[in-house]
Symmetry: C2
Subunit: 359 residues, 2 copies
C-alpha cells in the first residue's frame, strides 16, 4: 500500500480568551487541536469523513488505519476528504497533560481536568467550523472513537449524515474495573511521583497498564491460537525457572515496552477516565434523548470482544431504534477481540459496504 | 449451618533427613504439611474424600466450602471422612516461603523453590500414608484444586476411585498472561524489596494482583448484574472527580484490602507459578499417559468461566476418553464465572449426584 500523506497537517487553537468550559466543571484556555486532512473538500462540501481515533491513536489516521484508504475501501467517496483530530487529553499535538497550564506556567501534568467524550466532540466541532465544514458525510470510529461517533450524532444531529460506531457502548463494570486497576498500577510505580514524573515517567507501571489493556483488546481464543502454552521464543524455560516466561508473557512485555516509548502516562490516565464517563444520554437526562439523532446509524459489535461485548452493542442498537433512530446492528465474526476493527478491515468493509454505498 | 469442627487438625513432617526431591530440581528438607480431618475413617478405610483446595484456601475446608457438609451434600458418604491438606508453598501451616530454610536459618522468602502440582500431590500422599490410608473414595477440587485431583488420578492410579476436577485444565495463554502480570504488579510495589519485605509486605501490589485475579474469577455478566455503572456506594461521584470510583472498583478495592490481611505475598507468587506449570501429561511425555488413569473421572466446566473456559475442560474430557478413561463432562450453567464451583454449590451437587451416588 503506498504511503498516504495528509493534504493538511495543522493545529487549530481557540478559546484563548473566553476559555473552553468543560462538562465536569473548569475550563481549558486555550485549546489547541492537532488535525490531519486527507484529500480535498469538494465544492459541495459534502464529502467529509470524520474519523475518530481510539485511546492511543493520533490525527494521522493513515498511519494506524491505512486500510481506510485502500482501493476497495468501504466508504465509496471519491474524491474523499478524510479528517481526523487528535483528542483532548492526548499527547499527539492537542491540548493535554503535557501542555502548558496558563495559570501556573508549567505543564498540567496530573492536574489536567476530567474531559468527557462530549467535550471532545464539541472541541472537534471548532475545527470543522474553522475549516468551513457544516456537514459530515460519515463519522466513524472504534472503541473510544466509536463513542465519539455516537456522541457526534447525539450532540450535533443536524451535522451528521451517517454514523458508524464500532465496539463502543458505555463501558460496563468489567471495563470500568480494568481501567481502574490500570490507573492503580501506574500509581504503584515509584516513578509515578503523583504525576510529576518529569522526563522519568513511570515506564514499568505504564507498560503494565498497557499489558492489562492488551489482554482486554484481544481474546482468549486468539491467544490460544497464537501462543498456546509455548515457552517464550528467546529460549526461556518456564517449567524449570521461577522467572522464565511463556510466549504470551514475552509478547505482552514487548508490547508494553513499545508503548511507553510513544505515550504519555498522564494522558493515559486522563483518557481512560474519559472512557469511563462516556454515557451519551446522561446529560440529556433520559434514554429518550436518542430520538435527537437524525443520522443513519450503524452500530458494529465484535463477536469475541469482551471489553465491549457484542450483546451490549446490540442492545444499544435496540435502544436507538426504540427512539425512532434509523439504526442497524452488524457484527464482525472474529477471534481478534476488541481489536478486530483494526485487525480485520476486510470484514468491517464487507459489513459496511451496503449500508454506506450511495443510494 | 452448624459450625463443622475437624476431628483432627495436625501437622505431619517428613523428609527430615533424605529431603523431598522436587520435579524442577532442588529439594525441601523437611516438609511439613498442615491437614484437617472431618469425620472418622471407617473400618474398611474406604470412606475417604480428599478435598484439594484452590490458590488461597487452607486445610480447613469447612471454612471455605461448608456446603460439602450440608445434609444434602452430593457425595453420599456417611459417615464420611473428609481430608484436606494445605498445599506446599502456601501460608496456612505447610512448608512454604514463610518456613525456615535449613540451609540459611532464615525464612525461604523469595528463594522458595518452584513446586509443581505433581510435587504437591506426592507430598499429600505422605500424609495419607501416615494416616494409613491406601485408597481415596473421591478426590475433588476446583481450580488448582481440580489440577491436583486430576494429577492424583494420573500419578497414583491405584489409589483413586473417583476424581472430580472442576474448572481446571492446563492454564491457557490468557490465564498465563494474567498470572504473569499479577506477579509483575507485586514486584512493582516499592515494598517488594526483592521478596525480603519482612513484616512490611507489598500490600498495595498484592491487593492489586488479587483484584486482577478477582476479575478473572468472575464474569462480565455477573459484574453487570451486580454493579452496572453505579457509582461507588460511599457516595463518590465518578462523573465529576478524576479519582472517584464506580461501584465495581470500590468492591474490588475492598476485596484486595481483605486479601492482604490473610495471605503472604511470596506464597502468592509461588502458587501462581505452580498453576502455570500444571500439565498432567508433561512428565510422561505424551497425551497417551492419560490411559494410566483407573478412576472414574468427572470433569466439570463452568459456562461463564473465562480463566478456564468450559470448552477447554470439555476438550480435556475428550482426550481422557480417547485414552480409554471412564470420563464424563458436566457443565455448570452459571454467570458466576470461575468462582461458580464455590458460589453455586447446589448446581454442582445436582450435577454430581448421579455420578457419585453408590451403584
Amino acid at each position: 500500500m503506498p504511503t498516504i500523506i495528509p493534504s493538511i497537517r495543522a493545529k487549530h487553537s481557540f478559546a484563548e480568551k473566553e476559555g473552553f468550559a468543560l462538562e465536569c466543571g473548569g475550563e481549558l484556555r486555550p485549546v489547541t487541536l492537532q488535525y490531519a486532512v486527507y484529500g480535498e473538500l469538494n465544492a459541495a462540501r459534502d464529502n467529509v469523513v470524520l474519523v475518530c481515533h481510539a485511546l492511543s491513536g493520533s490525527a494521522e489516521v493513515a498511519d494506524w488505519w491505512p486500510e481506510l484508504f485502500a482501493a476497495n475501501d468501504f466508504f465509496s467517496i471519491a474524491p474523499y476528504c478524510v479528517i481526523c483530530i487528535n483528542i483532548l487529553g492526548s499527547c499527539y499535538g492537542s491540548t493535554g497533560p503535557q501542555s502548558i497550564n496558563p495559570s501556573t506556567g508549567r505543564t498540567y501534568g496530573p492536574d489536567f481536568p476530567l474531559v468527557t467524550v462530549g467535550d471532545i466532540v464539541r472541541s472537534q466541532r471548532e475545527v470543522l467550523d474553522h475549516l468551513g465544514i457544516d456537514r459530515i458525510q460519515l463519522v466513524i470510529g472504534g472503541s473510544i472513537g466509536g463513542m465519539q461517533a455516537l456522541q457526534w450524532a447525539m450532540d450535533f444531529p443536524d451535522r451528521v449524515d451517517n454514523c458508524v460506531s464500532i465496539a463502543a457502548t458505555p463501558l460496563g463494570p468489567m471495563g470500568l474495573a480494568l481501567n481502574h486497576m490500570q490507573r492503580q498500577v501506574i500509581r504503584l510505580d515509584p516513578r509515578w511521583k503523583n504525576g510529576d514524573y518529569g522526563d522519568q515517567p513511570p515506564a514499568l507501571g505504564l507498560a503494565l497498564a498497557r499489558k492489562i489493556a492488551m489482554c482486554s483488546y484481544k481474546s482468549a481464543e486468539l491467544f490460544s491460537t497464537r501462543f498456546g502454552r509455548n515457552p517464550n521464543r528467546n529460549g526461556e524455560n518456564p517449567w524449570a525457572e521461577p522467572n522464565a516466561r511463556f510466549d504470551v508473557s514475552g509478547y505482552l512485555d514487548h508490547q508494553g515496552e513499545k508503548f511507553v516509548q510513544r505515550f504519555d502516562t498522564n494522558s493515559y490516565l486522563c483518557i481512560t477516565k474519559t472512557m469511563d464517563t462516556f454515557d451519551p444520554v446522561r446529560k440529556y437526562g433520559s434514554i429518550h434523548a436518542y430520538s435527537r439523532i437524525k443520522a443513519r446509524v450503524t452500530l458494529v459489535g465484535i463477536s469475541s470482544d469482551w471489553l465491549f461485548p457484542a450483546s451490549e452493542v446490540q442492545s444499544l442498537a435496540g435502544e436507538l431504534r426504540s427512539c425512532g433512530v434509523d439504526c442497524i446492528y452488524r457484527e464482525i465474526e472474529s477471534s481478534h477481540g476488541h481489536d478486530a476493527f483494526l485487525a480485520e478491515p476486510d470484514k468491517l468493509a464487507s459489513i459496511l459496504a451496503t449500508r454506506l454505498s450511495p443510494d
